[in-house]
């Protein structure tokens, strides 16, 4: 805060006011916590654990302030100060919120569609020899094409930009999830299937109660990979086609040379994507609870 006070004198007051509030809030929270931690052992442990990384973040933020608004070593407008970015975030909050919401809808739609299709094709190709004979070559041929390479075709073929974006995201998710579902199903330990057969299991039980659960760890690797490619496809699709979402906001802000907004969008994207990944991790921990102590990622 002291540093901010020192460097921000050169800026107009309206632009730096909100950063004051942010820093003040952070300071108030940390002071509050340091008072409370006297009585709470678990909080004290948590704070002890988190202290180095929070301190590092504060130092980095301070350095950034010093370099940008302090010494002005970096050329404007490409490198705004943290205060400036916060200011553009607040000024444009309605549009940013709207963009995030549209991105979320697009991502969830495409991801869900892709995963659902991939699970069906993956289980079929992994289990049935006929499906593998015909499906594998197609998968190996079409799968590796980056989904974004389909953009020119998708724009022509699809009736709406949103629909084509959903399709592209689904396609980008479909390949890794299918591939790893196939591999998981096909590599089910034969002895599990033998045991199930001698217990009187029919085909349905063998597929859905032995092969699919046995393939779950592999399927989850596919889900994570698919999530990664879906982020990429989402941003590209929004940049070139769809007229909403964070990707669109990014290129729009860049068009106006408002780099504060570009950074604002990047920060929101980081929070947005890492939240989604965290949700998937939580789901994984729940579904693969039986692996606890076995997996380390």
């Amino acid at each position: 805060m002291v540093v901010h006070a020192a460097v921000s004198r050169q800026e107009p007051a309206t632009q730096t006011h909100s950063y004051w509030v942010l820093l003040g809030t952070a300071l108030a929270i940390s002071l509050g916590l340091s008072l409370v931690q006297r009585w709470s052992k678990s909080l004290r442990q948590w704070m002890g654990h988190m202290f180095p990384i929070i301190a590092a973040a504060v130092v980095l933020l301070t350095l950034w302030s010093v370099i940008t608004s302090g010494f002005r070593w970096l050329p404007l407008p490409y490198f705004p100060s943290p205060a400036g970015i916060l200011q553009s975030m607040i000024e444009d909050r309605a549009l940013l919120f709207d963009s995030t919401w549209h991105s979320l809808l697009l991502l969830l739609g495409g991801y869900t569609l892709g995963v659902a299709t991939a699970l069906v094709t993956g289980v079929c190709i992994g289990w049935f020899d006929q499906a593998r004979y015909w499906g594998m070559p197609a998968l190996k041929l079409i799968g590796p094409i980056p989904a974004t390479a389909w953009i020119p075709l998708a724009m022509v073929l699809s009736p709406s930009q949103t629909l084509s974006a959903v399709g592209l995201i689904a396609l980008s998710v479909w390949f890794p999830v299918t591939m790893l579902t196939v591999s998981g199903i096909a590599n089910t330990r034969a002895s599990y299937l033998d045991v199930a057969r001698t217990l009187g299991a029919g085909r349905g039980y063998l597929i859905f109660r032995v092969a699919v659960p046995a393939a779950m760890p592999s399927i989850f690797i596919g889900l994570f990979m698919g999530l990664g490619t879906s982020f990429l496809t989402l941003v590209v699709a929004e940049t070139v086609g769809v007229k909403s979402g964070l990707g669109w906001y990014l290129s729009w802000a860049q068009g106006w040379a408002e780099y504060g907004k570009v950074y604002a969008a990047l920060i929101i994207m980081a929070a947005f994507f890492s939240t989604i990944i965290t949700v998937l991790f939580k789901l994984r921990d729940r579904v693969l609870v039986w692996q606890k102590g076995v997996i380390k990622w």
Binding site: V195, L199, P213, V294
Partner: protein, 271 residues
């Protein structure tokens, strides 16, 4: 000790007949070369009998069990359960492997009731699951996952899972082979108790001669390459058997002698 009479419809144990069973496998991916795993194997097991197959590795004893369980098809010969030829796997013929092969994604309870779920009768038999959990002494572990279990406990779960279907025949492929000596001896008694309680035919493959003598009514000795039946020994000792009685030790000595494992004879000077 809990005394439980099986509450399910008890199936009568079945007899087993093998006549001229022959089975070969493709060797190392070269389809032209086939290794003969079993050659002209014939034997029979009476309903309710406990028979052990012993023999060195490579004698085809595991192959024979897989054929009987219906997991492999034979090249020549005939395999009958009761009067019916074996066409494929069935819940009437249970199989327990050396590796318990518990489904890691199911809890202990989930594993034990797997057979009921597979046959679509779980709803009608919820209570049976509890009975079998108690039967193998695992009431406290209903919600534990398999990787938390010791080897002995895992094998108990595998036993309960196989028994819950009330098989007419239970095949066991070296079920206690991976356990330490004390756990193994405990589980031998446990298996005997379950066998006597559940009225079923049991065919056990082992490489442990003591285990064979301690448990079975008859011992089938097999020799390798190709797998053949060498000799059948009846064990007439009263149960419970004593592992250190003179009769037990004599039988053990005879079998070791027969398998040429009694120990090297002192070298004779050729001159």
């Amino acid at each position: 000790m809990v005394t439980i009479t099986a509450p399910d419809v008890v199936r009568e144990p079945s007899s087993l007949r093998a006549r001229g069973v022959t089975k070969s496998f493709v060797a190392h991916g070269d389809s032209a070369v086939r290794t003969l795993a079993l050659s002209d194997v014939s034997f029979s097991v009476e309903a309710g009998e406990l028979v052990t197959i012993i023999g060195p590795s490579g004698c085809g004893k595991s192959t024979l069990l897989r054929l009987l369980a219906g997991l492999e098809t034979l090249d020549a010969g005939e395999l009958l359960v009761g009067n019916d030829p074996i066409a494929g796997p069935s819940a009437e013929r249970g199989l327990v492997f050396q590796d318990p092969n518990l489904f890691p994604w199911l809890t202990v309870r989930g594993n034990i009731q797997a057979g009921l779920v597979a046959r679509g009768v779980l709803h009608a038999k919820q209570r049976v699951v509890d009975v079998f959990m108690r039967l193998v002494g695992l009431e406290g572990f209903a919600n534990a996952y398999p990787h938390h279990l010791s080897g002995g406990m895992a094998q108990r779960v595998a036993l309960a899972r196989a028994l819950i279907n009330h098989p007419r025949v239970l095949f066991m492929d070296e079920p206690l082979g991976a356990l330490d000596t004390f756990t193994r001896m405990n589980l031998q008694d446990e298996v005997l108790r379950l066998w006597q309680m559940n009225r079923m035919t049991m065919l056990l493959v082992t490489h442990d001669i003591d285990e064979a003598i301690y448990m079975s009514d008859r011992i089938v000795i097999m020799t390798p390459r190709p797998g053949k039946i060498d000799k059948t020994v009846s064990v007439t000792l009263q149960r419970p058997r004593r592992r250190n009685s003179p009769e037990f030790l004599k039988l053990r000595g005879d079998i070791l002698e027969h398998l040429h494992f009694a120990g090297k004879a002192p070298a004779v000077d050729p001159t």
